[in-house]
C-alpha cells in the first residue's frame, strides 16, 4: 500500500522559505501568485495491514515523527492499495 503524507507549517506560523519562493516568482513576473507555503512530502510503502489499520497507523506516525505538531500540520492520502 502506497501512502503520501504532506507536512507543512501551520497557518499561524511564519514561513520565510515560502515567502522567499513567492518573492522569486514575483521577480519573474508571476504576479498572480498570491502566497506560497512550503512543506515536505513523504511517500511511504506499507505492508501487512488492511485499510482500516492503515488509516489508524498513518496519522499516528505523522503526528509522532514526521510532523512536529507545535509548528506543523499534516494531511495524507492512500495512493494505491
Amino acid at each position: 500500500m502506497k501512502v503520501r503524507i504532506l507536512v507543512s507549517l501551520k497557518e499561524s506560523v511564519l514561513d520565510p522559505q515560502g515567502q522567499t519562493v513567492r518573492n522569486a516568482l514575483h521577480t519573474l513576473g508571476y504576479n498572480q501568485v498570491k502566497d506560497v507555503r512550503q512543506g515536505k512530502v513523504f511517500e511511504i510503502e506499507l505492508e501487512g495491514l488492511g485499510r482500516a489499520e492503515a488509516e489508524k497507523l498513518i496519522p499516528e506516525i505523522a503526528d509522532r515523527v514526521l510532523a512536529n505538531p507545535i509548528i506543523e500540520k499534516f494531511s495524507w492520502e492512500i495512493m494505491e492499495t
Binding site: L9, S12, V13, L14, P16, Q17, T20, V65, L66, N68, I70, I71
Partner: protein, 257 residues
C-alpha cells in the same frame, strides 16, 4: 562533579564541550555514546551541538529516539541536571523536555557569529554565577534557532521566569536587529518548569577561554558546578577550582554508528 557528554552521529561540539569541562573547569567528564543505556552515574548530562543524524527530518528529530535519550529523559524527570547546547537544545525541544519548537532563522541564513545575550534570571542552576542583566558574549552557529511557541506558552514562560537568556546588543538592549535569528521574545535560552533542564542556542563551550575571544561561557558551567556541589553537600569546599588543571588528552570515541 561528574559530567557526561552525549555523542550522537553528527555531534561536532562533543570534544569542545569535553575539553572545557575537563581541562578548563577541572571536572571529571565522560562521553556517553548514543547507543548506550547507562548514564555512568554522572551528575549532569550535556547534549552538545552539531548536526545529529544530519539534521534529517527536523533538527534533533531523530536523535530523540536514540537509546540514550530514554535514560536522559528519566534522569531529567528525576531532577538531574541537563544542559542542551544548540543542536542539544533542538533535541530537548523535540524530546518534549523543553516546550516550543525551532523554525528556520528569519533571514534564512546559517548564522555563525558572536552574539550578546543577557541573563534574565540568575536564580537557576545554570545562571547563578552571573547576575541579572549581565551581558555575555558567546557565539552562535545554527540554521534553525528561531524559537517559536504559541502566545499562551510564551506568556507562561514569561510568567514563570523560564526565559534565562535573551539576544541583546553589547549594552544589553533588546532590539529586532540584535535578535539575529528572529526568536520569539528574543529567546536564546530557556529552562523547564522544574529548573533542571536548560536549552540554549549560543555555545558556551566556544567562549570559555581567553584565547577564543571570550570567557563568558564559563558563567554557565561555573553555575552548574556550584549548584551541584551545594546539592551534594560539599559546599564548604572551595566552590570552584580556579587553578587550571593540566591538560589531559581526550579519550577516543568508541562505538560504531
Amino acid at each position: 562533579m561528574k559530567f557526561g557528554v552525549v555523542v550522537f552521529p553528527g555531534s561536532n561540539c562533543d570534544y569542545d564541550t569535553f575539553h572545557v569541562l575537563q581541562n578548563v573547569m577541572g571536572q571529571e567528564t565522560v562521553f556517553l555514546w548514543h547507543k548506550e543505556h547507562d548514564l555512568q552515574r554522572v551528575d549532569c548530562v550535556v547534549l552538545p551541538g552539531g548536526f545529529s543524524y544530519g539534521d534529517y527530518l527536523r533538527s534533533g528529530a531523530i536523535a530523540r529516539f536514540s537509546p540514550i535519550m530514554r535514560e536522559v529523559k528519566k534522569f531529567a524527570e528525576s531532577g538531574g541536571l541537563v544542559l542542551g547546547i544548540c543542536n542539544g537544545f533542538q533535541i530537548l525541544l523535540e524530546a518534549g523536555l523543553l516546550p516550543g519548537a525551532m523554525l528556520r532563522n528569519k533571514n534564512l541564513k546559517f548564522l555563525c557569529q558572536h552574539v550578546h545575550i543577557r541573563i534574565e534570571n540568575n536564580r537557576t542552576a545554570f545562571s547563578q554565577a552571573g547576575y541579572k542583566g549581565q551581558v555575555l558574549k558567546i557565539p552562535i552557529a545554527h540554521f534553525d534557532g528561531n524559537y517559536y511557541a504559541p502566545p499562551d506558552l510564551l506568556s507562561e514562560l514569561e510568567k514563570n521566569k523560564q526565559i534565562i537568556f535573551r539576544y541583546c546588543d553589547e549594552k544589553g538592549k533588546l532590539s529586532e536587529e540584535a535578535n539575529v535569528n528572529g526568536s520569539a521574545h528574543s529567546i536564546a535560552g530557556l529552562i523547564n518548569r522544574d529548573g533542571n533542564v536548560l536549552g540554549m542556542m549560543p555555545h558556551p563551550e566556544r567562549a570559555s577561554e581567553k584565547i577564543l575571544g571570550s570567557e563568558d561561557g564559563q558563567v554557565i558551567f561555573r553555575s552548574m558546578i556550584n549548584y551541584l556541589e551545594k546539592k551534594m553537600g560539599s559546599g564548604k569546599k572551595k566552590a570552584v577550582r580556579l587553578v587550571k588543571p593540566p591538560v589531559s588528552p581526550l579519550p577516543p570515541l568508541i562505538g560504531t554508528f
